[in-house]
Amino acid sequence: MDITGLIIVVPVVAGLLLFVIPEQDKKGKDILTLLVTIFTAVGTWLIFRAEPGLVRLYTPEIQVAGENLGRIMHGSNEFMRFNIDGLSQITVLLTGIFGLLISVYSIRGVSQNDRCSNFHSYFLITFGISLGTIMADNLLLFIFLWGILALTLYKLIPAHDEKSSAAAKKTIIMIGSSDGIMILGIAILYTLTGSVTMSDISLETRSVLSYTAFAALLAGSFTKAGAFPFHSWIPDYTENAPAVSSAYLPASLDKLLGIYFLVRICHDMFIMSETLRLIILSLGVITIIIAVMMALVQHDYKKLLGFHAVSQVGYMVLGIGLGSVLGLAAGLFHMINNAIYKSGLFLVAGNIRSATGETKLDRLGGLSVKMPFTYICGLIFALSISGIPPFNGFASKWMIYQGIIDFGSGGTLAGRLWILWLAVAVLGSALTLASFIKFISGIFLGSIKENMQKVREAGPSMLTPIAVLALMCIALGVFATGYFIPKLFFPVTGPFEFYGVWQSATVSGLIILSIILGGLIYLATGVRRMRKAESFTGGEKVSDDRGYPVTGFYRTISNSPLLFYIYNKAYKGWFDIYLRSKDCILWMNNGLSRRHDGVLHTYLAWIFGGLVIILLILL
């Protein structure tokens, strides 16, 4: 079996074996998991370097079991087909990197009360299956593997109280039903094209059926990635799951998978019509704005990050929905960047959680002194996600904005609305910045609380993955236009020209130079005459409760009349498709349950009536 098969099978088999090893032997499980992840990560690197092409896994014809089984297995060669092209190579490589980093983190990073049973097994199974999903070319194989991921996602959140059980249930119901819708989509696609091979299909979106197929597959990709209106499981999941699970699935792997599939359906399998483009772009901007508005008012930092995990998807959808080569590369670049800083942020959140046990922003503060390393990395991630140059988040947002302006030069209706797309995207990034100011200052800046004096920095196995991710943020930002974009995306999309100019390396060099110069100025002038003093607060005594907590920062916004109304509705779950469809189903059941009056005669009448109807039909 060649490497394509190995990187799928080895983690899955190892994961299944780990079920047998008892939980008490944590060290052994850790070591085995780490070894398997390293092996698989190396495999993903080999896949990344390999020649693109179709790979058929050799499936032995099973003769012993008789003719019948042989006939069933006959078509399996077609079934086990994997597509190694630019897109899947890059996604596979990233999955490998994230799997490796998070398995290192999880050695110490999952605290005892957060631990879910058989974490290692589900971790490895998720890893192998994700890789298989990305490379699968056959839609049936794809949906099979994709479905397993819903289950492992469900098992990676420990359901120890009512709230987390509800979140887990919500997750599996939303993802599960979207998988069902996808199967419907695949069936329609098969009727229309007679093929279930992704690389063969190229369907024009003209008829109602083709629109339905597209919408069904889109629903699957949107639910996985977490775009409006199927996003609502993510904030609940991240609030309740351990940070390492959030960093692993909703922040990185699910994003990679969902966006990967979005690119596949938008660029490979369907030829999009103008109307579809308009709808996708609208969904993208709605995702950006509603999620970031919700993030702005969160007081729980894990939930805040969860809403951002939704909001950032909007940018990718926007980029990919543009349909141009520039837009596609921008969307993919943002996918990579987002996975990096978002899983980094979740790991930072994990450090904070395990060091302090707190998840509310207003109970934290001043930790930059106690956890300097976590702070610096957290700051880098926060600046990246807010799109501050020269970090990587800026580079990909810059590409998306350019893509939008470029798109505006075309004459279509969606193109004429370019200012709208651009304005919402930029406003979203300003609001992202605002909510990350809250995140950073609420946790790390300001004065430290009395009960936090004993907090200690996390250990090296938790810091190393974060540091690697932070370095990736810097590297992908600084060398964006000069090196990474041509290197990573030209193989996927073909060469393209930038619309604007961003000399990332030069500007970064100048910023570093200014930091050095600034340090020299301080050394030359300031240090001699530096002294510490208590803050000036107009003569009042400063105490912990007298401060101005970050949670009150944006009350001006959430209390403005119109937004106050909308926020109230949002808290009640008006925009949550899960709650709305739950209401709808309960309402429909209501009619049925009212028939259950417990009177024997009524039941008999129903049974008799039913019999008559059946007889009438059969006769």
Partner: protein, 310 residues
């Protein structure tokens, strides 16, 4: 690289922009004095202020804050301001060599000073600074959208160009963008955005000397405060220059047109000074509403007019 360093550190970046900005700050203070029937400061006063802070005054750091973040914020603010100064002024003066960046890059680099102020203020751990920081960031949310819409309309009016060079070239061929009705409509919100970005009355909400005693800057002293002052000088030159580049046809360094360029900048600064001397400070909610509803409405009208060719 040496060329880029020169552009960044000497001309037209850090040093040049700072000196011109200092002179403009003197102009602003002098006009304010005239408005209030005072004599006003001497020409070199802004530089005396700066040098005194840098060389004479001691540095006091907050005892309960994050010192390193507190001290690095002014450096990053100055860095962001100088890079955007170079990126705006190089095209403005028609210098085609050296590093460049498009209008989106400039838009984002110009937010670095605000973010640095906010981070520095929050790092000080002073509750008054926190109030200032929260106001600064809310104000930023308020005017950022308006500013972007103005940029987008300028891009549209100059034939979908996002390079300042192209925008200036377009104006040299077809006349300044302010020459049309939509151009005039754009100029008004642009002036208010600059006012807000510079933190001048009526948008000095984050500093609010009388109620927050300096707000975001309350804990700064000595060399770090000198850097903040210098950043403010640079911004006082760069933002009016950007307005001139976007709508008034750009600057020029040749022959008699130097005088014309100086007049353009002075006119914009004069406008800013007069607004700040004739208005009271707004509450942050009022300021946000002002931008979100009224200024955005103006820009939207301008966009519609642009689509219909006016």
């Amino acid at each position: 690289m040496a060329e880029n360093l020169f552009y960044f550190l000497v001309f037209p970046g850090l040093l040049f922009a700072g000196v011109v900005g200092g002179l403009l700050s003197w102009f602003d203070r002098k006009v304010t004095a005239w408005v209030q029937f005072r004599r006003g400061p001497v020409l070199m006063q802004p530089f005396y202020d700066f040098l005194k802070l840098l060389l004479v005054k001691e540095t006091i750091v907050p005892a309960r804050g994050s010192v390193l973040t507190f001290l690095s914020a002014p450096v990053l603010a100055l860095s962001g301001a100088s890079i955007s100064a170079a990126l705006i002024l190089l095209p403005a003066f028609g210098i085609t060599s050296g590093f460049r960046g498009d209008i989106i890059v400039i838009f984002y680099l110009l937010t670095i000073p605000s973010i640095s102020y906010v981070t520095g203020a929050l790092a000080s751990g002073n509750p008054l600074a926190s109030v200032g920081a929260s106001r600064e960031i809310k104000l930023l949310i308020g005017f950022e959208l308006t500013l972007l819409l103005i940029f987008a309309t300028v891009i549209m009016k100059s034939g979908m160009n996002i390079s300042l060079y192209e925008i200036i070239a377009y104006q040299q061929q077809n006349g300044a963008l302010i020459g049309s009705l939509s151009g005039v409509l754009l100029f008004i919100p642009l002036i208010f955005c600059i006012q807000a970005k510079l933190g001048m009355v009526p948008f000095d909400i984050a500093e609010a000397e009388t109620e927050l005693s300096g707000g975001a800057f309350i804990e700064y002293s000595g060399p770090p405060y000198a850097m903040i002052k210098f950043t403010k000088y640079i911004m006082l030159f760069v933002l009016p220059a950007l307005a001139v580049v976007l709508l008034l046809g750009g600057l020029s360094l040749t022959g008699t047109s130097i005088l014309w360029s100086v007049l353009k900048i002075l006119a914009v600064v004069l406008l800013l000074t007069l607004i700040r001397n004739t208005n009271p400070r707004l509450k942050v909610g009022q300021a946000m509403r002002f931008f979100f509803i009224w200024m955005n409405a103006l820009v939207l009208i301008a966009i519609i007019l642009t689509y219909s060719g006016l």
